[in-house]
Symmetry: C2
Amino acid sequence: MENIFADRISDVPRSFIREILKVTATPEIISFAGGLPNRDYFPIDGIREACARIFDGDEKEILQYSTTEGYPLLRGFISDRYAKKKGLDVDPESIIITSGSQQGLDLIGKTLLNEGDSIIIEKPGYLGAIQAFSIYKARFHPVPVLDDGPDMDALGEILSKNRIKLYYAVPNFQNPAGISYSDEKRRAVAGLMERHNVLFVEDDPYGELRFLGEDLPSVRKYLPENTIMLGSFSKIVAPAFRLGWLSARSDIMEKIIVAKQASDLHTNYFSQRVVYRYLMDNDIDAHIAAIRKAYGSQRNAMVEGLGRRMPADFSFTLPEGGMFLWARLPEGRSSMELFDFAIGEKVAFVPGNPFYAFDPEPNTMRLNFTNSDEGTIDEGIKRLAKAYEKYIHSNK
Amino acid sequence: MENIFADRISDVPRSFIREILKVTATPEIISFAGGLPNRDYFPIDGIREACARIFDGDEKEILQYSTTEGYPLLRGFISDRYAKKKGLDVDPESIIITSGSQQGLDLIGKTLLNEGDSIIIEKPGYLGAIQAFSIYKARFHPVPVLDDGPDMDALGEILSKNRIKLYYAVPNFQNPAGISYSDEKRRAVAGLMERHNVLFVEDDPYGELRFLGEDLPSVRKYLPENTIMLGSFSKIVAPAFRLGWLSARSDIMEKIIVAKQASDLHTNYFSQRVVYRYLMDNDIDAHIAAIRKAYGSQRNAMVEGLGRRMPADFSFTLPEGGMFLWARLPEGRSSMELFDFAIGEKVAFVPGNPFYAFDPEPNTMRLNFTNSDEGTIDEGIKRLAKAYEKYIHSNK
């Protein structure tokens, strides 16, 4: 049969993680595989009240078509919060509300990437970004991330050898590795971007979820013109609303708006109004503090469990925030093989392969600690340790 | 300065209609320019109650991430409605919930269109489709639409001279022209698509809004495998939720799901739950009947006003449903020039040019009758007639 499909879609795999989530959706499996926030910390009462209250005013307007850029008051809230939390001067006009920050990635690809354009991603890197940029047939240049950010030698070499258009990064509590860029590396990266005239895409879905250490400046602080920022309400309010945002300088924003019109006209306006009402009527900082505390305890349970139950050659990162940690089996071992034993013991994780555009490291894996309580995490790590032992003693 | 943008975005104009809407947003202007449903018929009480009720059950789940394909019960509702209203057998598995039907267009472009692929669009055609497919650098082959559908000779010639990938059409109450395809032409089009192995994209946002005549079969009925259907809740419930859907056969759906994941993971789940709850608890057919009645009266007010007040050489279509009619000034006249006089008289419409991928007919224009009540329509047409007279007697 004739191939009717566009070339761009042929190489993009269905999300491996979503496939895994289907396998692990049975209740008896303890899953560290997904990337779900803990539903116990969704602000259900606040959202219920916000839903009731938005019908008080000019109610019919909340159901009508709206502007491509998004609800002005919500854009203003985001601008204010950047000023307050990050000391950043971000004009509300430079912010567009997107259908989750995933759509921000699609809009960046749509407006900036020609086929074959070279971009830097992190190794390992966020799967959703690899998917989104694959659609536009970008040429990936993965830079390894260490515990404090990118390998600067590798980054310098990539930049000196290639004409790079953009560098996509998650500097805070990276997905999947859980690491954060040090302040020194943020400065150094900004300097390199400036020198090579590269756009820096600073994706920050987890920045507010720090439970250890001190907040660090946004890379945008050091690189105001060339940084495109992505943000999300999914982790601090709730994911179901699919509300994120993108901020960029005006020439880029102009094209992003055209692309957004062509993509879906505008983001769900009803939900923008609900979430704005929720933010106005509630203490969002207190809410985030509660999430942080819970995730911090869950992270500790996982780190302690792994430290106690896994052998010394099973290494892992120590995230100061976010939702994930990254583990490494000894060289020569395969997390895909471990996965089969893990499912046998009724515990799941994501093998590392899908987080690499190419040349995966088969001994790596991602563990999520936000979607299980501490007791469940302890039990899950117990099962993982058992699976690991079986794997090591198998013929594989 | 170096051009940093992707080639695909360079040729896509910012929506001219959205620019016009900004000009005409002052309350003293009567606007027939937009494409807004009448807010007086939004089911505000039903939505308010649905919002309250979705918090009754497994409430936390309504705020969590969800599946790319969409809420299964909502997909089931759509499948049932196709069976009941159209006699179509549409598997719920072949339906994906999209962020408005505009996103359906983007997903079709993303999965099916390589640069330079030939597609047929209607002349004049839906601006949002022209924008969406321009992004993927399709080669447009516009087929003129007559009062009963496409010019079949022109269609046959396009198909015989080019390898066409898809034909995008709005067979019911077309935007912008307000015309509908006759049953004969639906059959004939289906036959041609079959013979030339072309996909037919049947966009049907207005199909339920018929106020005159009899419903006609979906083209899908005559072309089950090769038809991709797009639908929307924007016109029968409310646009702010950005809820639409796409239905296609399984090999296409598989790729659409990959593209949807990369685009925004999934459609706003909270709104899917709200709208489904609303649909379950209310008589949607009675609601649609009320909209139809109102729009029918408004359409009559516009048709009568134009007939009474405009000269005989101002011709226009007689839609049996939908939201728009299409008018034509005598050859040599320009609706852009008329527009300036109209704004002077405080009435607005959309000049026809943006509805053409190329070779516009400058004497055409689109009038919306859904977003004004009958008295306002009458007053607006009075103003338009005055503007027209001034234009005719000006030096232009």
